[in-house]
Symmetry: D5
Subunit: 132 residues, 10 copies
Amino acid sequence: MSTSPSKQLETFPNPRVGRAYEIRFECPEFTCLCPKTGQPDFATIRIRYVPQATCVELKSLKLYLWSFRQEGHFHEAVTNQILDELVAATRPRSMTVEGDFMVRGGIHTVVTASFEDDASVNPVERGDVFLR
Amino acid sequence: MSTSPSKQLETFPNPRVGRAYEIRFECPEFTCLCPKTGQPDFATIRIRYVPQATCVELKSLKLYLWSFRQEGHFHEAVTNQILDELVAATRPRSMTVEGDFMVRGGIHTVVTASFEDDASVNPVERGDVFLR
Amino acid sequence: MSTSPSKQLETFPNPRVGRAYEIRFECPEFTCLCPKTGQPDFATIRIRYVPQATCVELKSLKLYLWSFRQEGHFHEAVTNQILDELVAATRPRSMTVEGDFMVRGGIHTVVTASFEDDASVNPVERGDVFLR
Amino acid sequence: MSTSPSKQLETFPNPRVGRAYEIRFECPEFTCLCPKTGQPDFATIRIRYVPQATCVELKSLKLYLWSFRQEGHFHEAVTNQILDELVAATRPRSMTVEGDFMVRGGIHTVVTASFEDDASVNPVERGDVFLR
Amino acid sequence: MSTSPSKQLETFPNPRVGRAYEIRFECPEFTCLCPKTGQPDFATIRIRYVPQATCVELKSLKLYLWSFRQEGHFHEAVTNQILDELVAATRPRSMTVEGDFMVRGGIHTVVTASFEDDASVNPVERGDVFLR
Amino acid sequence: MSTSPSKQLETFPNPRVGRAYEIRFECPEFTCLCPKTGQPDFATIRIRYVPQATCVELKSLKLYLWSFRQEGHFHEAVTNQILDELVAATRPRSMTVEGDFMVRGGIHTVVTASFEDDASVNPVERGDVFLR
Amino acid sequence: MSTSPSKQLETFPNPRVGRAYEIRFECPEFTCLCPKTGQPDFATIRIRYVPQATCVELKSLKLYLWSFRQEGHFHEAVTNQILDELVAATRPRSMTVEGDFMVRGGIHTVVTASFEDDASVNPVERGDVFLR
Amino acid sequence: MSTSPSKQLETFPNPRVGRAYEIRFECPEFTCLCPKTGQPDFATIRIRYVPQATCVELKSLKLYLWSFRQEGHFHEAVTNQILDELVAATRPRSMTVEGDFMVRGGIHTVVTASFEDDASVNPVERGDVFLR
Amino acid sequence: MSTSPSKQLETFPNPRVGRAYEIRFECPEFTCLCPKTGQPDFATIRIRYVPQATCVELKSLKLYLWSFRQEGHFHEAVTNQILDELVAATRPRSMTVEGDFMVRGGIHTVVTASFEDDASVNPVERGDVFLR
Amino acid sequence: MSTSPSKQLETFPNPRVGRAYEIRFECPEFTCLCPKTGQPDFATIRIRYVPQATCVELKSLKLYLWSFRQEGHFHEAVTNQILDELVAATRPRSMTVEGDFMVRGGIHTVVTASFEDDASVNPVERGDVFLR
């Protein structure tokens, strides 16, 4: 696997296919550019998903998030795009992506988008089963 | 777009219309005046909404909140007014506005008001799907 | 309005009658006396309610809480009394009062009492719609 | 009332019988002995209950918890025993006892046990009605 | 009982069989190796379960977690394996295992897997009954 | 000893006269009245001293702080008065009293006053020897 | 005393002239305008001083800080101006003013300026004598 | 070594005699009895020392602190006694013991006592060389 | 002033030349590249300085930090370079730059470099005069 | 450079030799074995140093700390050994190593050891020049 930015998300077979379990990532090192001003934006990207046949490979996820570094993106659009591309690559039972952007104009913005595969049964996706 | 206070909220087309996703803003720089004493009040305004056809533009939101600076408003009324005006401007699936006001008379006050468009389907609006 | 302790709770008309929205107060400056020993007790009183026709006026609430200063009250009883008197004065859709008392005998006590007007519809009163 | 350790839990009449309200205690000063090694164990005991006819008296609760000081108890058993004895003494609508034990073998253990009186109606016992 | 690493989980009879109560462990001292690079990984393992006939013995749990020290394991697989082996050893009503792994590639990963015995009734397993 | 408010501070002989060691008290349950408005003020009183021949008795300190409950005092004056009266009663090597008052007019006030007995040698009174 | 914004700082006689003690204020409700853009700025102003003959009156301090609300000021200049004007009004032994401004351009700015009256002896002004 | 409470503190040779380095212990599991009422007291004991020829052995320290469990001790006296006995057993270059006792009468008490061997050179004992 | 990345730091005249006061910036939005792997690094840059004739202009500081975005730099070198370039541009009495880098290889790195102009008198630069 | 555990610490030339600046590392992923029981110990290792001619290379530091994984070490000795070996490899102006070990026997232990090269001038090594 290369170590340059890449939109290519790699996957590996889910090691425990029969169970609806959850994987969470917190990625505080996300940056892209503002499409209007060209200035850098910074965010923490949080991903939570219940895999089906495949899991996303951690290093390819890092390179994928890196690939946005020199691209222009609006907050609302890029959060949905990351969700769409992760869903396309991994076909999960369900997935939520949260973009938590640093303050601009005195306002802190967080965008949260979710996908749910209606054909899958997903009892784990209820917030109350996770440990605090 | 001007950079003076304005009640005019601007919007842009929702980049992902088909999905019920959430946008949150935290605005700690809100101030208005007490209608009885004329003295300044300070609050953090928190906004959470699921857009339908349009999203509120971040800079116009900043100018909108600025427009209250020299106006007299009661805590309960101004929180509901911000909700009503944001709903009128953006027609969201659902929206919640919270006014978190600084201590007066030894008492800390928080007012929270919500709108839900009955015609929309909004599975995201359940508190348990957001990442912690 | 006077500035002496008073059991008289004042109200004002709810500025947004049609909406079930929430008002929260945190009052860390509550003190009364222990009915058995006469020694001072200290508590934070937290109030959360959904108004109907009237809201409680903030300054009268301060004077009302002040009125307990030289009275003897047990933790369980005084929390319920504050709820009963606030409900009688404001006739809310729903209300919760929490008395969070300082450590006595190495034990920290919190008493929480709620009222719900069965005739009102109150979808806001679900904990998951408030912003964190 | 004496001030020596005692298994005798004292009660007083619930001052607001008609209402399902909650009383919480946090007791960070609990210690007993390990039945296998005889060495001291330390825990915070948290109690939450909705009273029916009687409430537990605070000082007798302190003496009751003190009574475990020189006794040998396993974590899982002692948490359930405290719940059983408090339920027997106070006959609550519902009660939860949590034993939060200090680290042993690099592992932090928490045991949580609940009782619910099926004959009582207890709408307060839902976690979302309490103030944060 | 020996004090060397061991996959053998020991149990003892549940001291309160009739009640659906919860036991939680937090184990911040977990380490294994990355199967690809051979480098050490570190995690906090959190376990939450409602026992049926038996409870897991604390010291054997410590030795069990120790047994992974020199083994290669992927994050997703090892969390599920710990759940499977704890379920096999204790036959609980329900169990959740969370692997909270230290940052790799700027990304913090948490894996959460749950088991529920469909034949058991388990009202305690709702997140809202536990004390905060 | 009575349990009514008292300006009489009781002392006991310092159990370790030869050593310059420190005693700290944090008392979050202080209240007095505003001399101008008659309204209640609340503060946390923090006391730090190096004893000489005598130490202040804890229960008499509680009754002493209680004695301010119905008296009118300004923030700056009452903090110095507590220091003066504690110094007079205990004749310490050194003492610091801090009055940390709750918000008034949106402003949080802390007053800190110190006494040092020039005739005593007090190497402990340097901030860098206390544990964090 | 009026309740309108005023540059006039009022003082009262220091109640304990002979002692070098400290008074601290934290004022999170400061706002002024950016001189370049006219947009609002927000800051927390922290003041720490050792009085000489006079103390600053709390309500006049509130009105003084309010007086900046519609004025244009740079961060560095306004913090020094507040120090200069407070020193002129109160002639303290020493004083420090800190302006802690909200994020602009992704950068959080804090300006701290101090005054020391060389003619006064001020042993209290060493950071290590204050309680933590 | 036995596992019963013992006043006998064991030591081992300092592994790095030539260097003035620091060892800190935090022991949150200390309990003794109040000499006046016989009721339990609880404290966190913090120890910081620079060893000379010997270091205190960790398990014997645990058994030593356990030995106070059924003894009556005042806060000020027991903190000094622990310092005296640790100094006698280990002959350190310097040592500080802090007893941080749980709230009694609404007041939180901390006692801090230090020893310094005048014959030793101890540059490490300055607070500014330790990592935060 | 342009809004593109620039090594050109702009300054403005110090508004209070006669006083040694401090200006602090916290900039959590710094990113550059690893010179060995080309992968992105992220840091928070903290700057603290006492100005002499000029202050650094905030917007030019933002553009200056932006200018490192596509450049390769080692942690130790880039922190010193930022200090050197800020000192060259502003000629301060003293300045400290801290680079607080995100975790790499399980290790969190912070580099802190300081400059002091020996010809200036700088009593403010002692840590104990700043408000906490 | 290999990726297996190694006692060989690699260095690179200090990029700013003329300046006494500080480098700090926090390494929460340290584990070794107890020499008496063979059971694993876990610690966070914190390193702070002012380089002279060379700096320690980050990846070799990671491999160096890894090399203790299967070795038996006492807390006091291993902290001093890490300091001695880092000093031998990098010849710094000054260095401090802190071993912060997880709870054993209910006691949390921290060992802190420092080295100072008397021939070097090191004004940066005073705690008050670092940013908080």
